[in-house]
Symmetry: C2
């Protein structure tokens, strides 16, 4: 696998890490980065992630029109304008993919904007990240051993799918395939819900007059449980709203589980409480042992 | 600070780590370990944590009667028998402390059992741990930079308090002091509640017919959020029941926060959702920057 020209729309954590990974694998010749601020583009260039930086408020689309692969790595809420601009300029051989955390809304936007390029669009989502952001946070090993979910459309061409799968494989990831709706349901449960649960706890504690005493006595369990709460609020707000229906369904299931838990504790139901904790501990240990790459990855702070 | 004879009741993660830390600091001469299984006592001895191992179903109390310091590091629900046995045999100079995660129930049990030894009892709680357990998990650096909360009684002698504070300082910890009720309220919010929230999520997902597909697409956010769910169920069941009232209060506050969050998402209240996520991200980042020792500690898996 070799890409002559890669365009990365959004030189944040996700986009910069892809570029750095391809560089490390000698799988790319030229990388164009499109970004919101010159400072971040300069950082991406200084780190060797991109060769050319273009601001997104200028004529950026011309610069990526002849790329082999365009990776969209910006918040999902900003896709419409980018996809519309791409549809106008790119040649027929350009493959487009993305790294957005939700897929049904992305597919909908792509259908409305990409028109003749639709068959060359391969929606994707790398299950990797960090609470850090920006080009500075880019890491060539971010995707090593991690799962990337591709959610092709019925129209997606086999060669476009193969190129994107090879691209992620070159980044060190495992590639899986899911239906967009199934993706959104699963991610609501294992990613979007935990994120909101952690944020809700921290926000609730922070709202207390004596919050300093709570935070001052929090330990490593709290640290790991709440790590994701430090992630960019704008991005997670958009994810929650984009995946609203699936997320509300998960939130309802979880609140029902909490109601049952509160009853157990209130009534001192030792057996039921122990049962729930045992099932959780067993499942978590099993996951940790089988999830290989993820479990063995370097925990972020 | 030097302890001639240390007795550790319970040679699990907490007790073994203390013994190893004191050894590393050359702050102890002889360590007696009291345990439930010969295999675990043997592991603790093989690791150099203890010199002598005694089974808790034999005449163990005689072996610790002349210790300088007795550390109780077993589940809180098992304290009554241990404290009763200690009260019968220990000499008047023996200082007793513990590492239990709840303090009001421990103080109550101590008042009922320790009698003339009560002034030599210093209730304590190291804010450190891991989802791992047993002598094998013991780690001389577990307490480095971590907080240990001592909750002395009005009767506690100043010299007993000083010895226990020195003991934890020698293990590398920072020592703080709290009222037992305040301790239980704070820990309910920053430790016991997050634990149950993580376990409830994992148990709920594990109960689904297609749980494998959920776990198979979970990433590092899920890994860190749920790490604590792998901890011993017996221990956390006891903590939840021992700290029932404070925990129910926190659970109610949290469920109210989740109800508000669900409304935000349902109604697409972008501003309120962004506000909550921003307050959480800001508070979490601030905590991470100021919590020094905890934030900088090696994240567990």
């Amino acid at each position: 696998m070799h890409i002559d020209k890669l365009a990365v729309i959004g030189v944040g954590l996700i986009g910069t890490s892809c570029a750095l990974a391809l560089r490390a694998a000698s799988a790319v010749s030229h990388v164009v980065g499109v970004g919101r601020s010159q400072a971040n583009l300069d950082r991406a260039e200084a780190r060797g992630a991109i060769d050319t930086g273009v601001l997104c408020n200028g004529p950026w689309a011309q610069e990526v029109a002849d790329a082999d692969l365009v990776l969209i790595a910006i918040p999902v809420a900003q896709y419409r304008g980018v996809l519309t601009a791409l549809a106008d300029v790119v040649t027929e051989r350009v493959v487009i993919t993305d790294a957005g955390s939700t897929k049904q809304d992305v597919v909908l936007t792509a259908r409305e904007t990409l028109k003749k390029c639709l068959s060359r669009f391969v929606p994707g989502h790398p299950i990797a990240g960090s609470e850090r952001s920006g080009a500075e946070a880019g890491d060539a090993s971010l995707y090593v051993g991690r799962q990337v979910i591709l959610t092709p459309l019925p129209e997606t061409s086999a060669s476009a799918f193969a190129l994107v799968a090879d691209f992620w494989t070159a980044c060190g990831a495992r590639v899986a395939r899911l239906d967009p709706a199934r993706h959104d349901h699963i991610l609501a449960a294992v990613s979007h819900l935990p994120h909101l649960l952690a944020s809700a706890l921290v926000a609730e504690l922070a709202s207390r007059q004596d919050s300093a005493e709570y935070f001052g006595n929090a330990g490593s369990g709290f640290r790991d449980f709440t790590r994701i709460a430090a992630a960019p609020p704008e991005m997670w707000r958009d994810i929650a709203l984009a995946n609203r229906d699936a997320l509300l369904k998960e939130l309802t299931a979880y609140r029902t589980a909490l109601d049952a838990l509160a009853l157990c504790i209130e009534h001192g139901d030792t057996g039921a409480l122990h049962g729930m904790l045992s099932r959780a501990a067993e499942a978590r240990r099993q996951w940790s042992e089988t999830a290989g790459g993820i479990a063995a990855g370097t925990p972020a702070r």
